[in-house]
Symmetry: C2
Subunit: 96 residues, 2 copies
């Protein structure tokens, strides 16, 4: 299992309709084949400046690659992520 996470901050004001719309659009990532245990998360630690997170799990690297290359993911990155996300960090985990 590979857990893919991304913690991020949006360009939109906190509590704005644009913020809500982005997070709503993010739900669609859960429908991409191979995505398991998709979560939308609020980042609540004061020890970093990020506001939100997405987390999902893949059975293996092939499933992860399929997600990355899927047209729905490519479109989300192009149409929503790049223009609306101000800062982010990807962290991927495998249990030991």
């Amino acid at each position: 299992m590979i857990r893919h996470t991304v913690v991020f901050t949006l360009r939109h004001p906190t509590g704005s309709p644009e913020e809500e719309a982005f997070l709503e659009a993010g739900r669609g990532l859960a429908d991409i084949p191979g995505v398991e245990r998709f979560e939308r998360l609020r980042q609540v630690s004061g020890k970093n400046g990020y506001a939100w997170g997405f987390s999902m799990e893949f059975a293996d690297r092939a499933a992860y690659d399929g997600y990355n290359e899927h047209p729905a993911h490519v479109a989300f990155v192009r149409d929503r992520w790049v223009p609306e996300v101000a800062d982010f960090l990807e962290i991927d985990y495998v249990p030991i």
Copy 2:
């Protein structure tokens, strides 16, 4: 539910006995009251420089505070974390 995560890099060489000993010592955090779903993780994304992670969940803020203040956690931070961890980032999540 609050998910507390920390992604980190050790001062020890990769594959060293000291690295293994640190990760083994980390298991003890799972026994602190309030800690649920404790995981030790290998960080596998090439998009950041961290090597390892711990993840755990708390029912609420009171449980999280109890963990932070617990003598076993305080001792782990003092005796293992501070001297052996080179870099880290704490990220805490609440599902939305």
